[in-house]
């Protein structure tokens, strides 16, 4: 990264001064404002939208005239890449803004530590404690199944797999990635229906549904990371007489640990907010259920959806629930980052 940042090739053409982009940006925004005045009058969104287009054009043209075609292209690419980032940031930031803004209305320590027992109608009390416990249970069960299964499958695919079985698994893991969450929910529902009868509802059903969704995501990200470990490292390890399995554990997994942790976090993040399969399998409860193997259990996404569907005072609880969910994920992410920083070999990026 740091090495690539200042490209300093020998140049025969002139280069624009450092302040040029800023100047062009200011001119573009002013022009945009002028254009808007000629039309219906300026709006903030309009000025930035037209200004951005003008900037892209003006900057490229200026660079083409002063610096030549190759550098003009480079500047255009820089502009577009930066715009892509800013455009993507707008919805993402607005989403966080709404969730935090609306979520804070009801979010408090009480919200985190009370459940919905005895809350009805327009009462503003109540909280998501039961749903937090439920989400931890369901996601935990899914992780216990999916993470080892996914990592070992990825190891098989990258390190051992040869021939039709490996190819088949690779293809079918991809197919599994595409399983719609609601179908996974139906599968888990019927599986337990057959084994335990129709009256059985428990967190473990939701866990199985989420595991079906989570496993292929874990396999895919871990596989991708393992494949990026250079073969030279493996060969060096074999050359030192280290057995293959130890090479995998101590060299390959160790090198890829940061990527694997990120992959697992993405997988957890992918399933922690799943609503449809949990609506089908674990339902909703108003109080805490400490037993993962018996009884319906509330989970945060279903809690959010049900509260939204009830409307009125409940809508505030929906937003607070969403905020809680995001905070939980943030915490998990932080832990993952610390883990990956602690474990990843020094000197690699």
């Amino acid at each position: 990264m740091t090495v690539t940042t200042p490209p300093v090739p020998v140049r025969t053409t002139r280069k624009l001064p450092k302040w040029a982009p800023v100047a062009v940006l200011a001119v573009s925004l002013l022009l945009a404002l002028g254009i808007q005045f000629l039309g219906d009058g300026p709006t903030i969104a309009g000025v930035f939208f037209i200004g951005a287009i003008l900037f892209a054009i003006l900057m490229t043209v200026t660079s083409r005239v002063v610096e030549g075609e190759r550098w003009a292209k480079d500047r255009l690419a820089t502009t577009l890449v930066t715009f892509a980032f800013i455009i993507a940031l707008i919805p993402l930031v607005s989403l966080l803004w709404i969730v935090v803004g609306d979520g804070l209305t009801r979010f408090s320590w009480d919200f985190l530590t009370t459940d919905m027992t005895g809350i009805f109608g327009q009462m503003v009390e109540g909280g998501a404690f039961h749903a937090i416990i439920g989400t931890v249970y369901v996601t935990g069960i899914a992780s216990i199944i999916a993470i080892p299964l996914g990592i070992f499958t990825a190891i098989y695919l990258v390190e051992y797999g040869r021939g039709p079985l490996s190819r088949g698994i690779t293809v079918l893991v991809d197919v599994m990635t595409g399983i719609p969450s609601i179908v996974a929910g139906l599968f888990a529902f019927t599986l337990f229906l057959v084994i335990f009868g129709p009256a059985y509802k428990a967190a473990v059903i939701g866990g199985v549904a989420l595991a079906v969704l989570m496993t292929p995501v874990v396999v895919r990200s871990v596989e991708e990371m393992l494949r990026l470990v250079p073969n030279e490292l493996r060969e060096a390890s074999y050359a030192l007489g280290v057995p293959k399995w130890l090479t995998i554990v101590k060299v390959v997994l160790r090198t890829a640990i940061a990527g694997i942790t990120t992959g697992v976090m993405i997988a957890i993040a992918r399933v922690i907010g799943e609503t449809a399969p949990l609506l089908l399998t674990v339902g909703i409860a108003t109080g805490v259920n400490w037993d993962a193997f018996d009884g319906r259990i509330a989970t945060l996404p279903v809690f959010v959806y049900r509260q939204y569907a009830q409307g009125g005072a409940s809508a505030d609880r929906a937003w607070a629930g969403a905020l809680t969910l995001i905070l939980i994920v943030m915490l998990l992410n932080l832990i993952a980052r610390l883990v990956s920083r602690y474990f990843s070999p020094k000197g690699v990026r």
Partner: protein, 380 residues
């Protein structure tokens, strides 16, 4: 099976409560039994009952808010009983009730003959009980910020024309003539319907069919029959869609109308805005359904009534239970819970605007409901 002492005690008290109930039933005094059922084992002493255990229900999401209130009220009086209600939808509720997943169900529609037949097995040879304990007005809501009047008047034929797509502008003569004092904007009407299967849609189209069959030609349906319309899933989706643009009109549970305008519906010679009282009147003017029994108090709503002051667009949601349960605990708990729901206290609680805004049932109906609940017994 070994019972823990506390459960055995509870069982004994339940048996005595049931015995009392049966004795009172023999005496033919319905009101007294209801109090017995309500507080469970009075002989246990104290203000709270010693009923215990847990009962699960599922079904119509229309009842969700009311059930929340009922569970809270019931649990105050019976702290030993845990009641849960999963708002999965009427169809799933009936199915889960029939396959034994839940002990009671809420349903916007009465059971079909086929379902009733399979209900005999589920109820250990007993019968299915269906009670119309939740009556809720459906409001026709619109989003016209420029109109200051509290309600816009519409005849049944006008409402049908709007939703059938035949009346397309708010200043159409059909609407303007009924509202001489309201200045209606020149704005296209955007009819909004529910996109999912819904008891609200069914009741609403039943109303349109009963009152304006020549304009609304699609009959009573659960799924909206016209394509290319704006729609939303669940009541929240409906409210969001109607709130999302000017000129929209939709139908939703009246308690969720909020700031949106509501239509005063043409009944006979006058226009009636929704209110719990006006909605409750329709039960009194409606006959029982053809296949109703003492246990199944199903109603054939007279939606085309011309009775003054009656609001005809209502949703009636049934509470479904068994006349026979496997254990004393289940039987006593379900009977006690539903008795509470039917009691004046329970009905008043659901009628609160900040709970569910439903229409309380009449005393006459309550008497028949309690009589039906008294039939709940234990298998074997």
């Amino acid at each position: 099976m070994k019972l823990a002492p506390s459960r055995r005690l509870a069982g004994i008290s339940v048996i005595s409560a049931l015995a009392l109930t049966l004795a009172a039933c023999g005496g033919g005094d319905g009101d007294d039994t209801s109090t017995d059922g309500d507080t469970g084992g009075d002989n246990g002493g104290g203000a709270t009952s010693d009923l215990s255990g847990s009962i699960a229900g599922s079904g119509a999401s229309s009842q969700e808010n009311a059930v929340g209130g009922w569970i809270a009220g019931f649990t105050e009086a019976n702290p030993g009983v845990t009641v849960s209600y999963d708002p999965t939808g009427s169809g799933t509720g009936r199915e889960q009730f029939l396959n034994g997943t839940v002990l009671f169900a809420g349903s916007d529609a009465a059971m079909s003959e086929e379902e009733l037949a399979s209900g005999v097995d589920r109820c250990y040879g007993g019968e299915v009980i269906e009670l119309p304990l939740y009556v809720s007005p459906i409001a026709v809501i619109y989003n016209l910020p420029s109109v200051e009047a509290e309600n816009i008047n519409m005849d049944p034929a006008t409402i049908a024309g709007v939703f059938a797509g035949e009346i397309t502008n708010w200043n159409d003569p059909a609407i303007a003539d009924a509202n001489p004092d309201v200045e209606l904007p020149d704005l296209p009407i955007v009819p909004v319907n529910r996109s999912d299967e819904s008891g609200t849609t069914e009741n609403f189209t039943e109303y349109l069919t009963a009152t304006a069959a020549d304009v609304w030609t699609h009959g009573p349906v659960e799924t909206w029959p016209i394509s290319g319309t704006q729609s939303g899933a669940q009541t929240s989706g409906m409210i969001d869609t109607v709130s999302g643009a000017e000129g929209t009109i939709g139908y939703a549970d009246a308690s969720r109308a909020g700031d949106l305008g509501t239509v005063a519906v043409g009944v006979g010679e006058e226009y009636v805005p929704f209110s719990p009282e006006a909605a409750a009147q329709i039960l009194d003017v409606s006959p029982a359904a053809a296949d109703a029994t003492d246990l199944r108090l199903t109603i054939d709503l007279a939606r085309d009534t011309t009775e003054a002051g009656t609001y005809p667009i209502v949703l009636v949601s049934y509470s479904i239970a068994c006349s026979v349960y496997e254990t004393e605990e289940d039987a006593a708990n379900v009977a006690a819970y539903l008795t509470y729901v039917a009691s004046p206290e329970g009905q008043d609680r659901a009628a609160q605007p900040d709970v569910a805004g439903s229409a309380p049932i009449s005393d006459d109906l309550r008497e028949r409901v309690t009589a039906a609940l008294d039939q709940i017994t234990v298998a074997g």
